[in-house]
Symmetry: C2
Subunit: 194 residues, 2 copies
């Protein structure tokens, strides 16, 4: 009884992820994306693109990572990957958040999902590298589709995008190839500066 109540309390708490906003826009540029719908989009992209992982992976672990990876942002907020200053204390803020949020769950589940979040952050397993590649890929296709709206707002150049996202190749060379073409296309069409 206490167990199901703790689980429901956790589920209601993470409903707040729907109110944490990212910098990138939806594909039609109508509004920025929130973390909850991003997590769904990331999970769907991992499901559909799983065959492009460079290593043999357990897709279900990748999908679970996608579902839980941003929950820490309920407390720690969204940090722009191109913002070096905010990234300084990001790890510490997110660690504190992970300890509060996952530990609302019964102990066995708390450890399991805290561990899965840590695995994603550490980037040592094939699953975490593919997950990171998909996380980045999902943002890039939306930025491209919305004609670079968020890139323009934050003054991001093609060179910076290539530099920060080249690690996509560690999870999926095929997706990195797609990203390189999308960046070149954005430059050619004039909505991204070289």
């Amino acid at each position: 009884m206490e167990r199901i109540r703790a689980q429901i309390a956790f589920i209601l708490e993470i409903d707040k992820l729907k109110s944490v906003f990212r910098r990138n826009y939806l594909s039609d540029g109508s509004r920025v994306e929130n973390d909850a719908e991003h997590s769904w989009f990331f999970a769907m992209a991992a499901l559909i693109l799983q065959e492009h992982a460079v290593d043999s992976i357990d897709t279900h672990r990748v999908i679970e990572m996608a579902l839980i990876h941003d929950i820490v942002e309920i407390d720690a907020g969204d940090t722009l990957i191109y913002d070096e200053e905010a990234k300084q204390d990001q790890a510490a803020r997110e660690e504190t958040a992970a300890r509060r949020l996952f530990f609302l769950l019964p102990e066995d589940q708390a450890s399991r999902y805290y561990g899965l979040w840590r695995e994603f952050e550490l980037q040592e397993s094939p699953e975490s590298r593919f997950a990171r590649a998909i996380d980045r890929f999902a943002a890039i296709i939306l930025n491209h589709s919305s004609r670079g709206k968020a890139w323009k707002e934050h003054g991001i150049t093609a060179e910076r995008i290539r530099e920060i996202n080249s690690r996509i190749a560690h999870g999926s060379p095929a997706l990195w190839e797609e990203v390189r073409m999308l960046i070149d296309d954005a430059v050619a069409r004039g909505f991204l500066k070289e």
Copy 2:
């Protein structure tokens, strides 16, 4: 090459699910929920509450169902489960939508995810029954948490909620027990009419 392009086209198409709105509100009552964030919330609830399924289930299949179950609403729109008139042609509208949307994918994936969507609709497998229970459960805890805001707007009574949602027990008697208590609590606190 053609394969990855079809996959990316599908992923960009389903981004539209973020702009399909449901009737229920977020837990804080601030705004209504969209289908993409609902799909994430449903998948998370299935992950955390899996031990309460009445049958032995493959949780990963339930999670995949959660992720894809509402994609048809991009074309068919959201149908209120308490609206008997709209429910008349809902199956036909959703079938047409499923054939268009899933078949943007390469043939093998199209068949797979169309099949998974059909499995959810048919309610014959243990996974589909648990998934349906979680789908309903997720809406009820948000409605309860937002003090019955959507129930009031649509004139839904406690009796009607019990009638429509009693099938939660087919997937999870434990969750149905929780729902019965939430409904009684809502009536006792005056935000739901008996």
